[in-house]
């Protein structure tokens, strides 16, 4: 498949990247330094105006870098030709920005056409991408004006993936979608990412989306100052300061539970469970398991596999213990 090449992912390094606007005392992004390993989703999250979108746009130089540098696989973005740089990055924005006068197929084929791919290859690739993002190959001849919001966002995604870029920048891509469709798109994107493993920089203001989507999360203060950069679980378990603590919410303990499923933790023997303990699939998150226990007044749940065979049990006590230590994968 066109997208599965594992070498199609780049390591991104922010090296004290700064953005200053003339006439404003505070920089929009202040000496941001972090490393995004190749193939990971890094979510930039923070309050509005916190500089997260600015930081992302400095990577493809839609916003110029004042001081410091950003490198892609070691090459500074400042040294690359601007158009070459951007054609090598998949860019997805909230309002999508599909070209209304072109068909879906032509939209997706925009960058390949610029790169000089033969028409046949462009068409085949577009059909493949459409199916990848959950649409039909026949949708290629429709116009953006005929699509719903969710469908448009999928096309936007396909368009960004078209030239198989090693890096993707996504600016609140699901922000303008209704919650149900949004959840579906998030799940599908995560599924896709497991397959193509590109480096993704994802901007959102929604901490729950950040926790769900990110391999790593960078929380930015107002003024583009990095508050904490770590895996979601680590941030939830050990917030770096009061700002992060407030930002992730007082229910961060419970949020951590959404990150793990029954099958991910060491279970106690199933035989120790009471006979009225609810049975739940092993894919259930600890969060949902806890919810079930509290609702039914149970003290344990039994995890079952696909054939409904018990795999082990988890008690309330054990959940509490788990929260107090770092849960390792």
């Amino acid at each position: 498949m066109a997208l599965s090449a594992t070498d199609s992912a780049a390591e991104i390094v922010f090296d004290r990247a700064t953005k200053r606007y003339p006439g404003r005392p505070q920089p929009a992004v202040n000496e941001l330094s972090l490393t995004i390993p190749a193939g990971e989703i890094c979510v930039l999250v923070g309050p509005s105006g916190g500089g997260k979108t600015t930081a992302m746009k400095m990577v493809n130089r839609l916003i110029s870098i004042t001081e410091g540098d950003i490198t892609i696989d070691g090459t500074s973005v400042r040294s690359l030709d601007l158009t070459d740089l951007r054609r090598g990055i998949g860019y997805v924005i909230q309002q999508v920005g599909l070209f209304p006068h072109l068909t879906v197929g032509d939209n997706i084929g925009t960058v390949p056409r610029l790169l000089g791919w033969p028409k046949k290859r462009i068409r085949a690739s577009a059909a493949e991408l459409l199916e990848l993002v959950g649409l039909e190959a026949s949708d290629a001849s429709r116009y953006p004006g005929q699509l719903s919001g969710g469908q448009r966002q999928r096309v936007g995604l396909a368009r960004a993936l078209a030239a198989n870029p090693p890096l993707m920048l996504m600016d609140e891509p699901f922000g303008a979608i209704d919650p149900i469709t949004r959840e579906r798109l998030q799940d599908e994107f995560l599924r896709l990412h497991r397959e193509f493993r590109k480096t993704v920089i994802f901007v959102t203001h929604d901490i729950d989306e950040a926790i769900k989507m990110g391999d790593r999360i960078a929380i930015l203060h107002q003024g583009g100052i990095l508050a904490q950069y770590d895996t979601p679980d680590e941030i939830l378990a050990h917030p770096a300061d009061e700002f992060v603590e407030r930002f992730v919410g007082a229910d961060r303990g419970l949020k951590r539970l959404s990150l793990r499923r029954l099958r991910d933790v060491e279970l106690e023997p199933a035989g120790d469970a009471g006979s009225d303990a609810p049975r739940m699939p092993a894919s259930t998150t600890l969060h949902d398991a806890l919810s079930r226990m509290l609702t039914e007044g149970a003290h344990e749940v039994v995890a079952v596999d696909k054939d409904d065979e018990p795999m082990g049990m988890l008690s309330l006590r054990r959940i509490s213990d788990l929260l107090q230590e770092r849960i390792t994968a």
């Binding site: 839609l62 924005i93 999508v96 006068h101 005929q146 719903s148």
Partner: protein, 239 residues
Amino acid sequence: MIAATPPVIPNYGTAHGCIANDNALFCTTWIRQHWHDTLAPAIVQHLWLTAIAVGIGFAIAFLAALVAHRYGFLAAPFGVFSAFLYTIPSIALFQLLVPVTGITVTTIEIGLVGYTLLILFRNTLAGLRSAPPEVLEAARGMGLTRMQILRRVELPLALPAISAGIRIAVVTTISLATVAAYITPYGLGKPIFDGLQINYRTEYVVAGLLAISLALLADAVLVVAQRRLTPWARRRATG
């Protein structure tokens, strides 16, 4: 109704035989006889006048709009200049040009071009500016150069406004060109004025009808052309 003074119209034509027949509205003999030497050439001339005027006007206005789109501060001067040309009543403008360029087709062409400038400039500029900002941002982010964005995004999206402008310009020019014949005997206005001069009905009635038909036909053709150029505008979202 006030008693009218006899029209003071310059003498162009020569007398025609059908006047003897009680000056009928539609003396078909005359029409057949003079189709080739009077009416058909007049139609062709009229089309020619319009085509050249709109063609040149569009070339100028289009370039001006491109420049004004790129260098925003130039939009006002261009706009004001073409608007100023527009305010001058047509007959006066034509008359003012006569001492400079004589009683030629050039005179009326200059005038007609001047009148197309305003609507073409305005519409083209508005069309260029109508691209939604998120589309432009996506295009930039994807690595399209400025030229490419202009050619592949802004211009196609400007087509509806541009074609609307051309349509209005063509139709207005056809109308103005009929009056322009007062200055230079050219186009369908010539038989109208000729006919009025000698009070020969068939001539001016038929010429008038031809002018009307021409204008309606041009409008219809341009509407169809506009629809075919912008297929995306017709299909609305179903979902």
